[in-house]
């Protein structure tokens, strides 16, 4: 059976199976979504951990600033944040230097989504840090360990173990949030699918394909996070 025959089974019209142009742009869009997601995951996790540690150190002004950052980017809808960055801040930059400083839509998408999920990550990491057993730190002080050693050998490893379930939630939300970038014409999965269905008028088919694709991508992330949890699990710690 040719691909065209499979693609047009019944009343369906899966043009991505038999049309080269559609198939290529759809596959490219999957790579695009994966790249944007990877960049955002790295940025938001690193920033989340670092800012949560700064917050935990208790100094007043950093606490205020970080608290303000979390409030702004957690309390506003991500799509509005994206519009603000692209159409608002972007218009300001476009007007500077005779339009030679143009920040691409993809860059804005990475910035907006990273910042949005960083706000959630800061709270997740903060919860993990405050939940760490104080016995470890008392023992560390008793051994007169320097602060940097406590940070890198005790706090961070234990925090990473504790944060994984909550972090998984946030990263799943991150991958889903990349679909907001379709509004600023970033060629990720939803944008390219909407182009294909506008050209080929096969809405239902592309919806099915998108659901399957996003489920598969997020399934991979969850598999990775779960295996990380298993690998880092402390023997005898937590419910058996």
């Amino acid at each position: 059976m040719s691909l065209e025959a499979i693609g047009t089974i019944g009343n369906f019209d899966f043009t991505i199976l038999y049309d080269d142009f559609d198939r290529n742009r759809f596959l490219r869009s999957i790579i695009y979504t994966m790249s944007i997601s990877s960049a955002c995951i790295v940025i938001s996790t690193t920033l989340g951990l670092w800012l949560a540690l700064v917050y935990h150190s208790g100094r007043r002004i950093p606490r205020l600033l970080i608290g303000g950052f979390v409030a702004i980017f957690r309390n506003t809808p991500p799509l509005i944040q994206l519009y603000f960055f692209f159409f608002g801040v972007g218009a300001f930059f476009g007007g500077l230097f005779e339009g030679s400083l143009v920040i691409s839509a993809t860059t804005w998408a990475v910035i907006a989504i990273s910042v949005y999920i960083t706000a959630f990550n800061i709270e997740s990491f903060r919860a993990a840090i405050t939940g760490l057993p104080s016995g470890c730190f008392e023992a560390a002080h008793a051994l007169a360990l320097p602060r940097y050693l406590i940070l890198f050998k005790i706090t961070i490893p234990l925090t990473i173990r504790a944060v994984l379930p909550s972090l998984t939630n946030n990263l799943v939300e991150l991958i889903k949030a990349t679909s907001y970038a379709y509004t600023i014409a970033v060629p990720e999965i939803l944008y390219v699918s909407s182009q294909i269905w506008a050209d080929e008028l096969n809405v239902v088919e592309m919806m099915i394909v998108m659901f399957v694709t996003y489920s598969a991508l997020i399934g991979c992330l969850i598999y990775f996070m779960k295996s990380l949890e298993k690998k880092l699990a402390l023997p005898g710690y937590g419910a058996s």
Binding site: F21, F87, S104, Q195, A198
Partner: protein, 275 residues
């Protein structure tokens, strides 16, 4: 006890009979779309909300424009009121198929692909072509100049794929013309690919677009048509609209409706009047 049992039994039988009658009557009561519209007293048009002067909104949020006026005249002929539902290029056909609207009247070009899915009503009510608006500094003077360039466009326009395939341009399709123009001004693309006449009118209306030019020869002449669902129920509705448009063309009423919106010079409309 037996009296109550008798009552319950006769009540159950009554319900079953009612259910059967209703099931059959819903089949018998199926009438065509035009009769449904006349019975309901309103016809639902799917219209755009951001394409001045064909269909946009006034300061109170009411729909106005050339297409809106045309819809009102058609509804008058059918003897019903109008209900306007906002659609975009990328969802107008889906709304029609789902029954959210009865007629698509949303700057839609007649293409063979669309004809497979909807019933295009002839005669067409407008005609336009494709063009690109850009800054002179971008150097877009011929269609070859858009080769491999980034263009801003509107999602759902049929010439987006044409430009991508023929010239290798990357068309960044946004929700509507305002978003595309905002991106163009920022420098995200070298030009705005859209309908020729819409581009000209948008440029005239906006003083901050005064240093942009529409310098290409308009290609892809495209005829705009209204559409109804592709089932036999909508045939009488299509006929009614078709007759209505033909009359409006011949009497010159359609051209008169276009004039206050600056569209009186459109060659297609002028050619359709019989004088």
């Amino acid at each position: 006890m037996t009296n109550i049992t008798k009552k319950v039994n006769s009540w159950t039988r009554c319900c079953m009979a009612l259910a059967i009658v209703l099931a059959f009557s819903s089949g018998l009561a199926k009438a065509d779309t035009l009769s449904d519209i006349k019975a309901a007293g309103t016809v639902k048009f799917g219209v755009k909300a951001d394409v001045k002067p064909w269909a946009y909104v006034d300061s109170q949020g009411n729909p106005i424009g050339f297409e809106i006026d045309m819809a009102k005249k058609l509804a008058e002929q059918m003897g019903v009121k109008t209900e306007f539902i906002t659609v975009t290029s990328s969802n107008r056909i889906q709304y029609l198929e789902q029954g959210k609207i009865d007629i698509v009247l949303a700057t839609m070009s007649d293409t063979p692909k669309r004809r497979k899915v909807v019933h295009m009503v002839e005669p067409h009510y407008f005609a336009d072509a494709t063009n690109v608006m850009s800054k002179p500094a971008a150097g877009i003077n011929g269609w070859q100049d858009i080769k491999d360039q980034a263009l801003c466009g509107v999602n759902g326009a049929f010439y987006n794929k044409w430009a991508a395939k023929k010239y290798g341009s990357e068309v960044k399709a946004f929700k509507g013309p305002p978003e595309a123009i905002a991106a163009l001004k920022q420098g995200q693309c070298v030009g705005f690919l859209y309908s020729d006449q819409i581009l000209r009118i948008t440029k005239d209306e906006n003083s901050d677009l005064s240093d942009y030019v529409i310098s290409l020869k308009p290609v892809n002449p495209d005829y705009w048509g209204m559409a109804v669902r592709k089932d036999s129920d909508s045939d009488t509705l299509a006929e009614a609209i078709s007759t209505g448009i033909t009359e409006m063309h011949e009497s010159g009423q359609l051209l008169d409706l276009a004039k206050p919106y600056g569209l009186g010079g459109n060659p297609f409309l002028k050619s359709k009047t019989t004088d």
